[in-house]
C-alpha cells in the first residue's frame, strides 16, 4: 500500500510514514469523504426535486392557461418551456432542472419561495415587487424567535397599575410590528378575560376553589399569600423578552385577579372557545366550523356513554394511513370544510402508512411471542 490519503485527500500521511499510519490516514480520509458526500447528496436531492417540480408546476400552469383561453381541448395541449414539456396531461423534464430552473415554486401555493431570511443571520432584502410564498426561511437572530418576533413585557405589577397601563397603551401604538405583547385569554369557567401569564393562578382560585377541591385551593392560596412567596412562576424568570425583566409579574396573589378583569381593554367577543382573544394578528381567520358546536357541548352536561365513544374512536383510528380519513362517508357534514384536516391528509399521505399496534421486539407476532409461556402441544 503506497497511498498516503483517501478519496478526499484532506487527511494525509507523509511518504515516509509507516504502513499503519498511511492506512489509518487513508481510512479516515475515506470516511470523511463519505460524510461530506452524504451531506451533499441530501442537499442535492432537496434542491433538484424542488426545481424539477418547479419546472413541472410552471409548464402545467401555462397549459391550463392555454386550455382555458382557447377551446377546451385540454388533453391535446402541448406546451414547451426551457425546462419541461407538457404533453397529453403529463410533464417531461428537459435538461437538468438545476441548470434550467432558477427559482423554486411552492408546491402548495405556487408562489416563489424566498431563499434568504429577511432578518438576522444571512438576511437579504426580498424583492418588494414579488409576492413570495408565506413559508419563509426561519430567522436566526439574537432575542428574536424564528419569525423575527419579540415580546413586550407581560404587563404591570400591582401597585402602580394605573400609571403603567397608560404607558403601555402609549407604547403599544408606536412599537414596531414585530414586538408582540402578551395576550389575554378567557377563563373557560367564569368567562372573564385574564392576562395569559396569570391564567394558571386565576384558574387555581376560580376552578380550584369552586370545584371539587376547595381545601387544597385554600391551602394553595395561603401558601401563595405568604410573604416568602414560595411559589413564584419561576419559569418566567428565564423567558421574558428583552426589557421585560423589570416588570416581570413574578408575584401575583390569587386573590388579586378580580381587579384585572374589569379593566380589560383586551376584551373582545369570545365566540371562540379556544379563547385566544387579544390576538394582534388581524389576519387571523377562524377556520374551524366546529367552534359553534363546541360551545354548546362545553356548556352542556350531556352524558355520553363512554363505551360508545371508544367504539367510535376505535373505528376511526384503525385506519392506518391518514391520507384516507377524508373519504369515509360517515363523517358528519359540519366538518367537511376544515382546511386543516385536508392539509393534514395530504401531509400524512406522504408518510408511510403508520400505525401498527406497537411492534414486537422479536419481529414476530404477539401471539407467537406468547407461546413461550404456554406449554407446547
Amino acid at each position: 500500500m503506497d497511498a498516503t490519503s483517501g478519496k478526499a485527500g484532506i487527511i494525509r500521511a507523509s511518504d515516509d510514514d509507516g504502513t499503519m499510519t498511511k492506512l489509518s490516514a487513508a481510512v479516515l480520509d475515506d470516511l470523511l469523504y463519505n460524510i461530506i458526500s452524504d451531506l451533499v447528496l441530501q442537499t442535492h436531492r432537496e434542491e433538484k426535486i424542488a426545481k424539477a417540480n418547479t419546472a413541472a408546476i410552471r409548464v402545467e400552469k401555462l397549459a391550463s392557461e392555454a386550455s382555458e383561453s382557447g377551446t377546451d381541448l385540454a388533453p391535446d395541449v402541448r406546451i414547451e418551456t426551457d425546462a419541461a414539456i407538457f404533453d397529453d396531461g403529463k410533464v417531461y423534464l428537459k435538461g437538468n432542472p438545476l441548470k434550467t430552473t432558477k427559482e423554486i415554486l411552492c408546491p402548495k401555493c405556487h408562489l416563489p419561495r424566498l431563499f434568504h431570511p429577511t432578518d438576522g443571520k444571512g438576511a437579504r432584502k426580498p424583492d418588494p415587487t414579488i409576492l413570495y410564498c408565506k413559508k419563509h426561511p426561519y430567522i436566526d437572530k439574537p432575542n428574536c424567535d424564528i419569525y423575527g418576533q419579540m415580546w413586550q413585557g407581560p404587563g404591570p405589577g400591582r401597585g402602580k397599575k394605573k400609571k403603567d397601563m397608560e404607558k403601555k397603551e402609549e407604547s403599544a401604538a408606536d412599537r414596531p410590528a414585530n414586538v408582540l405583547s402578551f395576550p389575554s385569554a378567557t377563563c373557560s369557567k367564569c368567562k372573564r378575560c385574564i392576562l395569559v401569564t396569570r391564567l394558571n393562578n386565576h384558574m387555581g382560585s376560580c376552578i380550584g376553589n369552586s370545584g371539587r377541591n376547595a381545601s387544597r385551593a385554600a391551602a394553595q392560596k395561603m401558601g401563595n399569600g405568604n410573604s416568602g412567596e414560595p411559589t413564584p412562576p419561576s419559569s418566567q424568570k428565564v423567558t421574558p423578552a428583552p426589557g421585560s425583566r423589570a416588570t416581570s409579574p413574578r408575584k401575583r396573589d390569587v386573590s388579586e385577579e378580580g381587579e384585572d378583569e374589569s379593566e380589560s381593554s383586551h376584551k373582545k367577543k369570545k365566540h371562540k372557545s379556544s379563547s385566544v382573544t387579544s390576538n394582534p394578528n388581524p389576519k387571523k381567520v377562524i377556520l374551524k366550523t366546529k367552534n359553534s358546536f363546541k360551545k354548546e357541548s362545553n356548556g352542556s352536561t350531556l352524558p355520553k356513554s363512554s363505551s360508545n365513544l371508544s367504539q367510535e374512536q376505535k373505528a376511526e383510528y384503525d385506519i392506518p394511513d391518514l391520507g384516507s380519513v377524508e373519504v369515509p362517508p360517515k363523517k358528519s357534514t359540519n366538518k367537511a370544510s376544515s382546511p386543516a384536516k385536508k392539509l393534514k391528509a395530504v401531509k400524512a399521505a406522504q408518510l408511510p402508512a403508520t400505525l401498527k399496534n406497537g411492534r414486537d421486539a422479536d419481529g414476530e407476532s404477539e401471539s407467537s411471542g406468547g407461546t413461550l409461556s404456554s406449554p407446547p402441544q
Partner: protein
C-alpha cells in the same frame, strides 16, 4: 402470514409511478428514453434496481463495496462504487465512463446510498418511480411497505384524485406549520414542553388532524382530548405566529378528576414527566377502552395513546434453588432510568483510579436496566418457600414512540421533610437508537433477517425535554425535530437549534420515534 407471491417473481408488468400534478414523470430525459424502450426493458431495469437495493440495504455492505479492479482482482473500498443498472457490474468512478462508452449503459447506482447516476446528465437523478422504491426500502425494509396492506384494506382511499386534495388544501396557509410557542400561564412551562413534544409527534398530529377526536361530537365537558384537538387545529391551520394560549388545556387540567394526579394540580411548577403521564392517562380515558392504561398483559387498547407510547416489558424471575422461571408481562408508558447508582459508581471509580470518567450515556443506563439481572427474594411455587431469585427485565414489545425518563429528581424521606435533590450530571444520548439489545429475545441473527430485525428496532430522536436550574426554581425548555431541522421551545419563544446544541443538553425526557415511520 399468508403466503403471497413476492413482487419480483410475479410476472406482472411494472409501471411508472402515477403522474402527480406538480412533478415530472421521469427523473431526466434519459431515464424517460430507457423506460420508453418497451415494457420488457422497464421490467428488467426496475427489477434489477430492486435487486441492487436489496444488496445494499439487506446484507453486509462488503458485497456492494467490492468490485473487480483492472488487474481482475476483487477489491473492497470504503467509498462509493457504481453498480451498473443494466448489467451486473460494479465499477469505480474511473471505470464508469469506459464501461458506458463500451456498452452504452448510462445508469449507475451509488453503492452506499442507492441513488441513481445518469451518465448523460453527468449528475444524480431523482426519478420518481425509482426514488420511491429507494425511500421505501430504507424506511420499511420492503418495497411495498405497509402501504400495500393498506391498499387492500381501503381500496377507495387510494384512488382518490390527488388533485382534489391539492386544490382544497390551499386554504391553509403555507405559514401554518405547527411552529409556535406556548405562553407560560404562570409556572406552566412543565406543561408547555410536553405539549410541544405532542405537537411535533407525527402520530399524534396525524390522529388529531384527521378528526381522530372530534370536539363537535364529544359530549364531555372540559374534555382534555378536545382541548388538544383545538390546539392542533390552531397550530396547523392558522397563519398565526404569535404564541398559543393553552387555556382550554389548563382548565381541563384544573377540572380533571383524576385522583392519581391530585398532587399535580396546583399553581406551582410541577414535574413534566408527571404531566406527561397525566395527559397519557386522560387521553386514553377519552379515546380508549375504559380500562386502566397499564392493566394486564393481555390488554391491547387501540387508543391513540396506546398506539403511540405504550409498549410491554417482561420480567423473568428464575429461582436460584430449582431454576424454575416465571414470566410477568406489563405495559409501560415510558422507560424510567435511574442515574444515581451509576453516577455514584463513576465517582467512586474516578476516586480510586483517578483520571476522568467518560460521561454517562443512555446506553449505560439501558444496559443497567434491561441487560443486567438483579437478585431478589421470591416466593417460589415449586420449592414452596422464599428463595433467592435472579430477575431480568427486557422489552417484549417496543412502542412506536419510545419515551425515556432519566430519574434526575430524587426524593429522599428525611427526618423532618421530604428533601428533593437534582442529579445534574450530563447523560449523552444518540440521534439514532438501536433497541434490539434490550428486547425480549435477542438472538444474534445473521444476514438479512438480522438486519431487518435491527431495522425494526431502530429509533430516531424526536424531542428532548430539559430542566434547567434548581429543582424548585428551575425552568423547562424543549427541543423538537421537524424534518431535519431542530427547534428550541422556550414557552412562547421558538428558535432554531443545532444538532450539537440538542445533543449537548442535559436531557430529562427523551422521545424517540421508530425509524420506519420517520
Amino acid at each position: 402470514m399468508a403466503a403471497r407471491p413476492a413482487t419480483p417473481a410475479s410476472p406482472k408488468n411494472v409501471k411508472v409511478k402515477e403522474p402527480a400534478p406538480g412533478s415530472p414523470l421521469f427523473g431526466c430525459e434519459h431515464v424517460q428514453r430507457l423506460f420508453n424502450q418497451g415494457q420488457e426493458i422497464m421490467n428488467h431495469s426496475i427489477g434489477h434496481y430492486k435487486m441492487i437495493l436489496r444488496g445494499i440495504f439487506d446484507s453486509t455492505p462488503v458485497v456492494p463495496q467490492t468490485f473487480t479492479n483492472s488487474q481482475g482482482q476483487p477489491t473492497t473500498c470504503l467509498t462509493s462504487t457504481n453498480l451498473c443498472l443494466q448489467c451486473p457490474t460494479n465499477l469505480t468512478d474511473e471505470e464508469r465512463l469506459k464501461h458506458g462508452n463500451k456498452t452504452s449503459h448510462r445508469f449507475y447506482i451509488d453503492s452506499r446510498s442507492g441513488s441513481l447516476y445518469c451518465q448523460v446528465c453527468d449528475d444524480i437523478v431523482w426519478d420518481p418511480t425509482l426514488e420511491e422504491l429507494r425511500v421505501r426500502k430504507i424506511g420499511t425494509g420492503s418495497f411495498s411497505g405497509r402501504k400495500r396492506k393498506h391498499d387492500e384494506l381501503f381500496p377507495d382511499a387510494m384512488k382518490e384524485d390527488p388533485r382534489y386534495i391539492a386544490t382544497n388544501t390551499t386554504l391553509a396557509s403555507c405559514r401554518a406549520n405547527g411552529l409556535r410557542g406556548i405562553y407560560n400561564a404562570g409556572a406552566t412551562c412543565y406543561q408547555n414542553v410536553v405539549l410541544q413534544s405532542f405537537l411535533h409527534n407525527p402520530l399524534l398530529r396525524n390522529f388529531y388532524l384527521s378528526d381522530g377526536h372530534q370536539s363537535s361530537e364529544c359530549g364531555v365537558s372540559y374534555c382534555l382530548s378536545c382541548a388538544i384537538d383545538d390546539m392542533f387545529q390552531d397550530f396547523y391551520a392558522l397563519e398565526n405566529t404569535n404564541g398559543y394560549t393553552a387555556a382550554n388545556i389548563l382548565s381541563g387540567f384544573w377540572i380533571s378528576e383524576n385522583k392519581a394526579f391530585e398532587n399535580l394540580v396546583t399553581t406551582r411548577e410541577q414535574d413534566a414527566h408527571e404531566f406527561f403521564q397525566f395527559l397519557a392517562e386522560e387521553l386514553h380515558e377519552r379515546n380508549g377502552d375504559g380500562k386502566k392504561p397499564e392493566s394486564g398483559s393481555e390488554h391491547t387498547c387501540n387508543c391513540v395513546m396506546h398506539q403511540t407510547f405504550y409498549g410491554k416489558m417482561q420480567t423473568d424471575t428464575t429461582c436460584q434453588n430449582c431454576s424454575g422461571t416465571t414470566h410477568a408481562v406489563q405495559s409501560f408508558l415510558d422507560l424510567s432510568l435511574g442515574l444515581e447508582s451509576l453516577v455514584q459508581k463513576r465517582k467512586k471509580a474516578v476516586k480510586e483510579k483517578g483520571g476522568n470518567a467518560p460521561p454517562l450515556t443512555l446506553i449505560d443506563c439501558l444496559d443497567e436496566e434491561y441487560i443486567k439481572s438483579d437478585k431478589c427474594d421470591y416466593r417460589c411455587h415449586k420449592c414452596d418457600s422464599i428463595q433467592q431469585a435472579r430477575r431480568l427485565t427486557s422489552i417484549k414489545r417496543l412502542p412506536n414512540v419510545l419515551s425515556i425518563q432519566f430519574k434526575r429528581f430524587e426524593y429522599k424521606q428525611g427526618r423532618h421533610d421530604r428533601a428533593a435533590s437534582k442529579i445534574d450530571d450530563p447523560v449523552s444520548f444518540p440521534l439514532q437508537l438501536n433497541m434490539l439489545p434490550y428486547t425480549h429475545r435477542v438472538r444474534a441473527k445473521e444476514g438479512r433477517e438480522g438486519r431487518e430485525l435491527e431495522r425494526s428496532c431502530t429509533y430516531d430522536l424526536l424531542s428532548v425535554v430539559v430542566h434547567v436550574g434548581e429543582i424548585e426554581t428551575g425552568h423547562y425548555v424543549s427541543y423538537c425535530r421537524v424534518g431535519d431541522q431542530w427547534f428550541r421551545f422556550n414557552d412562547h419563544n421558538v428558535r432554531l437549534a443545532t444538532v450539537s446544541e440538542v445533543l449537548g443538553a442535559k436531557a430529562y425526557l427523551l422521545f424517540y420515534i421508530i425509524r420506519s415511520l420517520a
